[in-house]
Symmetry: C2
Subunit: 416 residues, 2 copies
């Protein structure tokens, strides 16, 4: 048996796999990858993945939610397993790394462990989660596994084109109702870890190779509306206006103050969408609809920010004689990573002589769901310029190699 | 002959005419009036108008731009005339007063003068100007009369549906090229006065029956654009964003300061249109396109405001690391009303025991064009809640009567 501490993944194999997978569903005109969940390209991606599993001498597994993977060495059925995984589905026009890296690096880790017949005390399970990108509004695979699906959701879920989840799954040979059976018992997973690109600029800015994630941000998202009065922009004096856009602009100007007073260094607030009615150059906007999205890793901070924004928006509306309405369109609780997994990642980094940056994940991931049933954590690698969900997504081969090795050694720490 | 000072219009006739005209082109579902220039309804409106002229024993006149009207008593061909007029065309879904009031009150004034055979030293000419509402991008009739049209404009002008002005006029029996011949010699018009609804809230606020207009605001309109970087709203820290919307919000917040420092009480600035790209709740806006429209009655103030906004927008862009571009999409010089016409309006108000409010027009009018060739002015009547370009447009019958009488006596003062 090899010296376990000296084990390392084969970077050529990882890069070749990423290359091969990136050709599935790729639009040659712009290089964007299109593997929406339960599309024909997604199914080809899954087949490519199970072929690789079999090629490695392992056995493919699939559950009712369509989560595909394998388990190695499959000799410890009664011991809580170590799990790793990510997703092969993509947003439309995606890059080659988001999701794919975690699945392929997990596969490579199992290949290396199997080739060297490394002794472990726990099985390691690898999972490609279904529909992480939320074609049908959630994270189907990891929600199923963590017991957060209902029959009503499965019946009602539709994509933006109105296609029903039940129909899309049926076309791929799945019965949506079976997704409920994908639930795992709390306690059946000893630890879960996901390798992912950062999709942000922090690692690149600090010149760090690895991010040791300690929490995944939660968020609230509002569809908000100020109602004033549409008036002629020439004949209505400034002091007689009820300009709904001025209200939104003032909210925007208050974001910095609110985050300073009520948030922390990990707080983010974004107005990403604004629609003015009637929306003409010569009419004072009578109505402004806008989105407000606020994120933080601390549930208490998030609640305080929600209160602060509510107070500020109400006060702006009162002062400007506007009506104010909002609807919570999304609310996700932050998820803390588990000490057990963070220690294993830190140990793996030490073994690889890498100084990781402890950080939070600003984006949502399957890990967020799995925290509900298992001690979980994440490993990040840098994203050039923070770019993601775009063909511009890029991580250097050296960083990909370091990330895959960090995953390998984290799994080893957890499973041995 | 009657006592000229005691002459007054017949309010029933004016209201009946407004009623009859409002039925032409009216959409019964919402009461909105649709008499776009050179539409079938506009032509019916013109025929209704010439029928009324003939009914009053006067002779209809028409020029190459399709301006329709009459001249009374038509005995002073070599003396510069007094002119009044407005327009019968409407925006889609208009109210019954914008434009129509000035034409009908002018007609009623001529009817009263003719009925009483009032002696005048100058002919009084009444004009319904073609396409004031700018279906083809300008104010065709008054621009033609003031010599501001070119053959190129006539050839190229199209409406929002791509219909060419030449074709629309041809269908109504006009040759667009003839519009050039509608030009009048400077000096041929002794004075021009237009009665119009205010389309703003000032008269109502101050409980004034009549507005004595001393200037018509000019404006500049920009299509502006901030370019930053679209980034993930969760993974991008606040201090690493190049948020294009934050730029627009800051412009909005600076409007009050800029108007206070560089404008006057008549200055207006409006951001009426904002489009964010990509415009999603979870993406930091990488691009913001917006309109900025600024109005004032003083050309120097308008230039100073233009400089101030340019400096501020550039500074915001520099500070926020955004690119900034803008295009001037419209630029209209303010027009001062003439002392001669203002004195006549003031005299008419005095004769009627009305205390007028001296004010500016925040909206554009045919008068703005006619100032180029003749001493001009305007009379305003109140608009309830400032509403216009809508079926909600309303002025009390008593105010309509006072306005028509003010026009009658202004014309008398000028023509006698």
């Amino acid at each position: 048996m090899a010296d376990v501490g000296a084990l390392s993944i084969d970077p050529d194999r990882v890069l070749a796999d990423l290359d091969a997978l990136s050709r599935i569903g790729r639009d040659e005109s712009d290089g964007g990858i299109h593997r929406r969940a339960f599309s024909e390209a997604d199914m080809r991606g899954r087949r490519w993945f199970t072929d690789r599993i079999e090629e490695a001498g392992l056995e493919p597994r699939i559950d009712g939610a369509g989560n595909v993977g394998t388990r190695w060495p499959n000799r410890h059925p009664d011991v809580p397993c170590v799990m790793t995984g990510s997703h092969l589905d993509t947003v439309p026009g995606a890059g080659r790394l988001d999701g794919a890296l975690g699945v392929i690096a997990g596969l490579e880790a199992l290949r290396v462990l199997a080739e060297h017949d490394v002794p472990v005390a726990r099985d390691i399970e690898l999972v490609n989660f279904s529909d992480e990108e939320g074609r049908f509004g959630g994270m189907l695979g990891s929600q199923a596994m963590s017991g957060q699906l209902t029959p009503e959701f499965l019946e009602r879920a539709v994509d933006l084109d109105g296609v029903r989840l039940t129909d899309a799954m049926a076309e791929c040979g799945f019965r949506a109702g079976d997704a409920l059976a994908a639930e795992r018992e709390p306690g059946s997973i000893y630890a879960f870890v996901e390798l992912h690109i950062e999709q942000g600029p922090m690692l690149e800015r600090g010149d760090h190779a690895i991010g040791l994630v300690d929490a995944i941000t939660g968020l609230f998202r509002w569809d908000a509306r100020f109602l004033g009065e549409a008036n002629h922009a020439g004949t209505t004096p400034m002091d007689m206006r009820r300009d709904a856009f001025q209200g939104v602009a003032e909210v925007s100007a208050q974001i910095e103050r609110i985050l300073e007073e009520h948030g922390g260094p990990r707080s983010r607030a974004t107005i990403g969408r604004v629609e003015l009615v009637p929306g003409a150059a010569n009419v004072v906007p009578g109505e402004a609809r806008f989105s407000l999205e606020v994120r933080d890793t601390d549930p208490r901070t998030l609640r305080e920010l929600s209160d602060a924004f509510r107070r500020t928006l109400s006060a702006i509306a009162r002062r400007r004689d506007l009506a104010f309405e909002f609807e919570v369109t999304s609310e996700i609780e932050p998820a803390a990573c588990h000490e057990r997994v963070m220690a294993a990642v830190a140990g793996a980094c030490e073994a690889l002589s890498i100084e990781p940056l402890q950080m939070s994940s600003g984006a949502a991931h399957d890990t967020q769901m799995i925290t509900r049933i298992a001690p979980s954590g994440m490993i990040f690698v840098p994203s050039r310029s923070g770019r993601s969900h775009s063909p511009a997504e890029w991580t250097s081969p050296a960083d990909l190699e370091r990330g895959a090795n960090a995953l390998l050694h984290t799994l080893l720490e957890l499973a041995r």
